[in-house]
Symmetry: C2
Amino acid sequence: MLNFEYQNPTRVIFGKDETKRVGKECKKYGEKILFIYGQGSIKKTGLYDKILSLLKEEGLLVYELGGVKPNPLISKVREGVEICKQENIDLVLAVGGGSVLDTGKIVALGAKYDGDPWDFFTGKAEPKEKLPLACVLTLAATGSEMNRNAVISNEETQEKLAVKHPVLFPDFSILDPVNTLTVPREHTVYGIVDIIAHVFEQYFHPVPETPLQDRFAEGIMLTLIENTHRVLKKLDDYDARANIMWCSTLALNHLIEAGACGDFATHQIEHELSALYDIPHGAGLAILFPQWMKYVIDVIPEKFAQFAERVWGISREGKDVKEVALAGIERTKQWFSEIGAPVSLKEVGIGRENLERMAEHATRLGPLGYTKKLYKQDVLNILEMSL
Amino acid sequence: MLNFEYQNPTRVIFGKDETKRVGKECKKYGEKILFIYGQGSIKKTGLYDKILSLLKEEGLLVYELGGVKPNPLISKVREGVEICKQENIDLVLAVGGGSVLDTGKIVALGAKYDGDPWDFFTGKAEPKEKLPLACVLTLAATGSEMNRNAVISNEETQEKLAVKHPVLFPDFSILDPVNTLTVPREHTVYGIVDIIAHVFEQYFHPVPETPLQDRFAEGIMLTLIENTHRVLKKLDDYDARANIMWCSTLALNHLIEAGACGDFATHQIEHELSALYDIPHGAGLAILFPQWMKYVIDVIPEKFAQFAERVWGISREGKDVKEVALAGIERTKQWFSEIGAPVSLKEVGIGRENLERMAEHATRLGPLGYTKKLYKQDVLNILEMSL
């Protein structure tokens, strides 16, 4: 186990109908709320009206920023920062999935900064403080509701970059599984792929002596797989949705990574894909991950074999370590297919045309990853294996 | 899964030789430190001198409160509160195991309260604020380093009671496994029993749909069992000590309980034993737990069978649920014996003489537990089964 520091101050309010507390909880932070949301699905489900009336019941003054896109844009963040500064907003309330929550994080951060919020992504500025931030989650996927990460795209530079800083932890997040009962099948699947990808990225590392971290990661994967089958049979299965939601939060709240070392290379390569092609993040991950696994298998074959055995129940009998490991990877790819995620670039209509450019761009600041350092040629190899 | 609220603000600094940071970290909170410790083992190991010199290097003014006993006393807490008030202490630094940390918690709490600190245990006062609290852990057991609980004994009333309140979370805790390498075999074992008992208490509940909580609990148990065997072969095995330490923290930092419901009846019954006889807490738990399990088995037989299968690897083949469940309980008792913990009251020299009195006292405020409500006669039955 590596030495580590761990702290996560976010207050989680979890459970059926806890959304009703949003007004009272927000009021603790002030009177002026900037309510951020996405492209209107919360208007269709009625959540928009519900939140608005809960906020108004408490006498809160509500400003709005709607229209956040799935790969959220820095231009939208700038709009939000402008409102915060002009209206002296007390609290940012982000209602949506990871894209809305990440937008909320950077809006809250930018509101307390004199320059352009993109500065935090280029390293020109270091986060210091943010406005209070509340979240109501409507999609189990990114873990943004209880972590210090935010990913934003810049439409001018065609970059998709992350900021990670303790100041970005939400002050509180309402995790009400009821708000995910209406998520369509496709988005449910992509969310699930994102969750399991986060676990992969903190599990397939070469750090020795992390048995508890391994068991927690395996626990999330097993729970997620079991509940994926349930939710795909019945999209409004409350218990399955609740279990998946809690998996999503614990998959990326820094706990299973503590003492180990995350390797987020696949996420970084995927960001190139979804920045350029605007495909769903989860689709890109499902395509790339089995290929990344095969590419790095020889660094940690025993870890891949442990995964095959404990998560997929693959017997070691009559196989050597690498055979077991490969069987686990194959099973993962097959599972992505079974649940309806693409497993090749071809399936989402992407050819060779930009692979080199993406590999170049992905590694422009240096090699990616930790388990195996990936240089431009490695990234290109993985992308070609994904065709 | 039940609805829940979860927040844990404690900053954990974990790893080899992280103790060296104690001076600099404490200095962030002020100049005057009350250094609390136990009965001198840290003087023998050199940790006392090391901490003192690290604090003095930073120019800090150090006051001391030594001599905290294994079942820590309210009289010692009162001494500490007195020093805090007289000397205007800025930070309480507790260096030791759970008894020292719990003393630190209530000293820090009492320092900000006008009345007697026992008031928090009787319900006469509600915790509101405390002095900043830092911990350096020297024994993996109670989880006090990252939770909101404290247990203190009152020598006058022969009571051992708990306070649980968010204000009691330590501000930061240094978890340096090196500080546990010299813990003698017996205390190591009792610490381990305490850890697994905490997991039992949050795992054997009747709440449906807690698959992730179950997997996390099982992960802690499996890791603990594997590493117990390693540490008992080689008491100064750093990796085994590190894994056990992280197990102890996660076993009782409220995470695995979130969405489920703890049943701490066995701990409460044990508090009667150790309040009256001053036996090690872990010894009392090892004696009582298998009997409690047998006593409540019919409420949740499937959960006990799951435990038998997943934790002890007991096959279900050819057995009905209750047989599997009972085999798991028997294996637990056998394991306690194997690692050197007592499994009957007789082994620690306790007879029938005070069983009735303890059962009476344990239930004086009402029945115990959640999985099965235990009235006086139930507690008496469990104590008699433990003879």
